[in-house]
């Protein structure tokens, strides 16, 4: 499944580019993610915890820089992870393309995502909303990271904060939930009337 997102960071192109190539720094910009400070064989081990509604999914896996095109300012990361509890896996190739923008730097992200297990059955609509939510938080985080300048502490793997995407996911479902709710109410009314007979 390919997902496309775009955001603008209020920071110059070169600073954004160098931050993007620093895997621990990228991870720090993403709430819910933790990562080792040093790579092993080019891959960083880390975890990612995402919460949507009542469901929390925690993944453990690796992230590595796959391709870097300095001239075009295009970088791709490969992330492979599996659920800490449960049978699901997630693998993604995330390709970011940077361009100058009047407000700073425009980042176009193409994510080629393959998810298995329970999360996969959430359906494309919800997956897109989740990915969009993750990217939005990431953009905010990256901007803060760049504004702050000094690198903050790296979170060790397994720390407990989760990226809560409740709002992002539940929004589109709210309309259907309202219809469902009306149905339930009617059902109760029908049941009540029948029992009164």
């Amino acid at each position: 499944m390919k997902l496309n997102n775009e955001f603008v960071v209020a920071a110059p192109l070169e600073r954004t580019w160098s931050a993007l190539l620093d895997v621990p720094r990228v991870a720090r910009a993403l709430p819910g993610a933790t990562i080792d400070s040093e790579p092993a064989d080019g891959a960083y081990r880390g975890t990612m915890k995402v919460k949507f509604g009542a469901v929390t999914a925690e993944y453990a896996g690796t992230a590595m820089l796959q391709d870097v095109d300095e001239d075009e300012r295009v970088a791709s990361f490969r992330v492979e992870a599996r659920e800490r509890r449960g049978q699901g896996t997630a693998a993604a190739t995330i390709t970011s393309r940077l361009a100058e923008d009047s407000a700073g730097t425009r980042v176009s992200v193409e994510t080629d995502l393959a998810v298995t297990g329970r999360q996969a059955q959430l359906g494309r609509g919800i997956m897109e909303d989740v990915a969009g939510g993750v990217l939005e938080r990431f953009a905010d985080g990256l901007e803060q990271e760049l504004a702050g300048g000094s690198p903050g502490p790296v979170q060790p793997p397994g720390s407990e904060e989760a990226l809560d995407l409740g709002g992002a996911v539940l929004g589109p479902l709210r309309e259907r939930a309202a219809v469902f709710g009306a149905g339930v109410a009617l059902g109760f009314l029908a049941g009540w009337l029948l029992r009164r007979r």
């Binding site: 896996t89 998810v115 298995t116 059955q121 359906g123 494309r124 029948l194």
Partner: protein
Amino acid sequence: MGTAVDATRARLIGQPLPRREDERILRGRTSYLDDIELPELAHAAFVRSPHAHARVNEIRAPAEAPGLLTVITAESLGERVRPFPVQAPPEMETADEPHPVLAAGEIRYVGQAVAAVVAETRALAEDAADLVEVDYEPLEPVLDPRAGGPRLTHWTRSSGDVEGSFERADHVVSTSHSIPRVVASPMETRGTVASWDSGSGMLTMWVSAQDPHRPLSQLAHSLRRPEDSIRVIVPDVGGAFGSKGVAAPESAALAIAAMDLGRPVKWAEDRLENFLSAYQGRGMDVDVELALAADGRMLALRARIFADLGGYLLTTTAIPAHTTAMLMTGVYDIGAAEVNVVGAQTHKVPTGPYRGAGRPEAAYALELTVDAAARELEMDPVELRRVNLISEFPHETPLGFTYDSGEYARCLQRAAELAEFTEQDAGTGRRLGTGVGMYVERAGGMWESAHVTVEPDGRVIVRSGSNPHGQGHDTVFAQIAAERLGVDIGDVALRFGDSAIVPRGVGSFASRSVAMGGSAIVRAIDDIRDKCATIAAHLLEAPPEEIAWTSDGGLSAGDGRELSLREIAAAAYQPPRLPAGMEPGLEASARFASNQVFSSGAYAAAVAIDEATGRLEVLKLVAVDDAGVIVNPLLADGQVIGGAAQGLGATLVEEAVYDENGQLRTGSYADYSLMTAVEMPHIETDFVESPSPLNPLGAKGIGEGGAIGTPAAIGNAVVQALGGRIVHPPYTAEKLWHAMQGEST
């Protein structure tokens, strides 16, 4: 002896009686599978594969977890279970690829059960299942049935001069169709409770199923146990639509868990499991070629069917594509036909019978081809059909079915009358399309059982091998029994669904309950009536030939002296009052067997497609069905409307979507749409009743017509609205919009 039916007091057959089971159901006084509670009941959850195709290298079960009782894998099942048997349709090559109870080494679809985890509650079982670590080695999945991958089934038949007919034909019309997989969506999902009594050696299995005896045979085979050591009880069932015709393979693992633990174990699947792991329906690509003479006569037909069967063969997986193949000539008198079926193995959950089960696919592909021919010949589609209809019965088709009866022309004429529509009805900015679709349906066949007892107080107890899962058997069978015996319908009680109580039967599928189960009741009651007449002659000291049934259900000696059925029943249990040598009691068993009967129908639809958005509205749907003699018109109407709703769903909104990795993208009703009351059009129904000569009721089957005729009629209406362009269902606004853009460029 006068045992003529017309002498009974009330005509109940043909009466639109409301379902007498509804009060109990609507008030919630029912017991579905998940309502069953037993002392010490443990609960199962299954570890299911997240991959469509993979090798399983290792399974590591947690040593302990809260409430965990046991973890069962293919390894721990060992030789104690074997896969359910596979039913091979006549002359169909069928691979030895049965569905394993739990995955052993290989995964062939997302959702395949890998391990059964049993714990004190379902929640704890699910938590413990999350702790089971499975080392999968993902492999490339095959998803397209046309990809030329391994075949699970293969079938070819050719009859008549196919090649010559195509050579001589003035017109040859070809069409291609892709009918997507759909899920059955019963309100109640699947489930099993297993309970083992080590003292008696009896294994009791409650199964949410369409009948008790097929699951019983499957479980006995799988568990290598004699059938009399298993009792299957089917509780109230909240819908099946074909999807509970065979027990879930998981049921066998549950039986082992119950025996290992010495405690009863329940598995009531959740909706996600049902989406992933319950067999789906349809999933067939069909290519059709039709050869016609210049005057429109159909000379020969060729069809190639590619069935997307999934990873394994469940017991009935091979059947629907065979049914499609056998029905490819439909209601038409076509002298020559050649049909080829490839049942392809794909890395998806297996398919199986779902309301219509191969019949809708045949009707859809054939009927859209007939309309394509009408366009080619510039003939009216109704007229082209009319001149090719089969009109004499019995009719043997080139593919080998023998149609018993029918009045196809009358069905077509009636549908055309009811479907009058004009361009203005579509409104502005919308394209109108009208279409007809005809079908013939194989129904019934094999045999069915009934055991009828008239108790000493005159109450009638009917035990049936046919079994309800929402159809209304309790009402319809009581109508049949009460009319044939001349008693109040309230005096008839039905018993279903427990292999320890009902005689071995075949079950409820293929629209067979009334024709087969109803006829078995008639046969048993005929024996009882004969015995009643003999007893009456003895008690009234009248010659047997003078005895006649009265209009109020008694027996008269013709001289004013009468006995009620109640008086005869009381006497039947008192040997001194019976003729010498007569066995006491008043009961009879029957097994009624017959060849298949063939229902038919003509459907018509009018649709409007919004030119700006592609949004489709069904303006009208007309359903004319011939299911022979209708026992209860109200329930028959309900069957047609329900079937049409599912036919509309499969045509307009439903599709089980798998992505390129074999992941199901429609695993909840947020992504998988069903028709709701909001989208349902008005459905006009009518019946033609041409009695079947093959059973005493003259009945055929009405359970599936709506699901069969609807897609064909809607399909032709949509193709007409699109100016002859064929798109594949479901007809989403996006597809229709693109089809309309394609035309203008």
